[in-house]
Symmetry: C2
Subunit: 411 residues, 2 copies
């Protein structure tokens, strides 16, 4: 008799963005004339830059001729893309990463979701709170979470590291033993960053305790301030303890194209049950070669165009566009007396809900009174209660309109 | 301290095709002037048909304009593709499958590798032997396999269903309790099929024992004979017990483009630890929405073009091309007195190694004497020992040359 993975029963409700979409659709159905502006899901809206379009078309043409047709490629990605990645994103910044330490995939959501598979089921997982729900849910599915404790809105075996205005969104080191630590900087959802000094504390902690840091850096391209680390490998010793996840989704508008990569340095070790050190790179390579068949050749050619001189210039403009939106939201809302965070090195603005409202209460008010969809902070964890996320990915027109509409809110 | 998933240590050697590639590269390095023909990995070689190229270019152009740009799509796939799939692959054949029972992905290898996640870790898994290694290895990684028993070349907790010339490659029903049954027809690696009567025995068995059949139908497009089932759902009651995996890889030359789909009927049930029935479709939906971000929009547009009148005609020609190769190999090798199977409804020819040679021994002989790369049958399981797989995916010229070279083999 086929039995289900019982851990799925521990998952809470539907995935956050599905619930947001459900309420949005209901509102639109009930109010067909309302012009709803979505600043909810972190999805880009600008078209792909010309250099990428050119790269994609060229790759499609190659697939039309027997002499240049490509079938299965390396599961880890083509050398032309791996080399562009290491040269531009690492070596150009003085970080020595080799091509065989990089694994190209069809998305960071897959990678950050799948990475836990190569670690023991009894690993203790630490996450910041609020947190991108995928880190938690994939560990719930695997059986590492313990039971859901309704009163706390938390799982019993997950170690939560609260981040809020009171601690300037800087998580404290765990006060109990942990094995795997998920960090995301620039942070989703708060839009906040860690300084090199703060990040160094985590690397040192992981080295001292033989933890692995799963470092999600999907928003790296949005960093504006010079002293903010763009890669965890800028920190000495990080290659011994950290896996870094990067994506073309937000960098180059690839949310619908699907390309990302994960760096697993050869120095990174974990331990078997006899405490023998194991090279984690080999485990991930085995996972990917067994369960994944490589990212589309066409997509990889598009991603490689990101690193051409034209591609770089065009992408810089894309980022500038979204970061101007971020500034408009940040300053416009702050002017109304609402406390705002993020939006300086990230396309996310994290606001303190006015009047001490709950996150979902504010979601409903914003939707019904201003016809704006955002994301309730509590959807990212209990420490997000009383906060709310807006994204800078809307059109300029909608972004400006949304800020105006904030003035119409009645409390 | 980060501990590894100890199950990875049970995996045997490298993934089969990696070992084949290793020996191939070594031979080429040692014999730089040898003209090696690869009939090993099941990878297509013909360019993408024109209708698909046109569809891909059109989608790339859409991504270049803000008005038609697509970001994140539905994790399950776009309606335009889901509807084309159910209308053409199911409803046109009298099978009632709904769009919300279909999940588009970036490849069947991912889907058949990931599907086990939604079932209990103590599920007993049955596989045919020989078998596509992904079914076994992904269950080893998850911890369902038990230990590897070297003398048997098998895992202790996996139920193997031998398929060989002696039973006409028709697996017998398991003689012990199993929960999940992987079937692949047309079969990889043997190229053999099951009749409706034989497949019905499996559906009936699964219904009687509340098992789930994981039915890999990646080679369906190659079926030539009328009475061979093209979908397991042609069998009455199969929707209660079977998940079907389909791919555009071999159908339409998408091995480098990456698109596949999985059908999980709403009727399909599995059971929780209190024996309550659970709708498996909802589990897979949760898995996909949490760990996957949808298949590339551009790719899905290319896949939809497969179902256009031009696309269908062009794909039929592709399949005809490969199946003519299959006939050339099958008949050419049989004429030398070698016993051959498959190659009639599948692009794989499964041959009995001459003179009772071992599979790897024959691999080395074929490589060194005829400069042909094939795949050793034993790589697919112990019952594949003494067999060898050739694929029909080479160019016509190489296929004909390879058959000629078979005559040069010295035993």
């Amino acid at each position: 008799m086929a039995k289900i993975n019982q851990n799925y029963k521990k998952l809470q409700g539907s995935y956050l963005f599905a619930e947001v979409a459900r309420r949005r659709v209901k509102f639109i159905n009930d109010n067909p004339n309302a012009e709803v502006i979505s600043l909810g899901i972190g999805d880009v809206t600008r078209p792909l830059p010309e250099a990428i379009i050119t790269g994609l078309h060229a790759a499609v043409n190659e697939m039309a001729e027997a002499s240049s047709f490509r079938g299965y490629g390396p599961e880890q990605g083509y050398d032309f893309l791996l080399n562009a990645i290491i040269e531009n994103d690492y070596q150009a910044r003085g970080i020595d990463i080799k091509a065989n330490e990089v694994f190209v995939s069809d998305g960071s959501k897959c990678d950050v979701g799948n990475i836990q598979e190569i670690f023991s089921l009894d690993s203790v997982v630490a996450v910041t709170d609020p947190v991108y729900p995928v880190y938690v849910d994939t560990n719930v599915m695997a059986g590492r979470s313990g039971d859901y404790v309704k009163d706390l809105n938390r799982y019993s075996n997950i170690v939560y590291l609260p981040c809020h205005a009171g601690n300037h969104f800087i998580p404290a080191l765990p006060d109990k033993k942990v094995d795997l630590i998920y960090l995301c900087y620039p942070n989703n959802p708060t839009g906040m960053t860690l300084s090199k000094e703060e990040l160094k504390k985590w690397v040192d902690y992981a080295r001292a305790n033989k933890c692995v840091i799963l470092y999600d850096s999907a928003y790296e391209a949005y960093i504006q301030e010079k002293d903010v680390p763009r890669s965890i490998y800028e920190i000495e010793g990080a290659k011994e303890v950290a896996i870094e996840f990067r994506s073309f989704s937000k960098t180059a508008g690839f949310t619908g194209v699907r390309c990302a990569y994960t760096v697993v340095p050869k120095e990174l070790l974990a331990y078997d049950e006899d405490n023998n050190a194991v090279v984690v790179n080999e485990l991930w390579n085995r996972r990917q070669t067994t369960k994944f068949n490589g990212c589309s050749y066409i997509t990889q050619k598009g991603a490689a165009a990101v690193y051409s001189p034209e591609g770089k210039a065009q992408i810089a403009k894309l980022v500038e566009h979204y970061m101007t939106n971020a500034k408009i939201i940040r300053e416009g809302i702050a002017a109304l007396g609402i406390e705002v965070f993020g939006g300086i090195n990230a396309p996310y603005i994290w606001l303190k809900t006015p009047e001490g409202m709950g996150s979902w209460e504010f979601f409903d008010k914003l939707l019904t009174q201003a016809h704006i969809v955002g994301t309730p902070g509590v959807g990212f964890g209990q420490s997000g209660e009383g906060y709310f996320r807006l994204t800078a990915f809307g059109s300029r027109e909608n972004t400006e309109k949304a800020v105006e509409r904030f003035q119409n809110l009645r409390f």
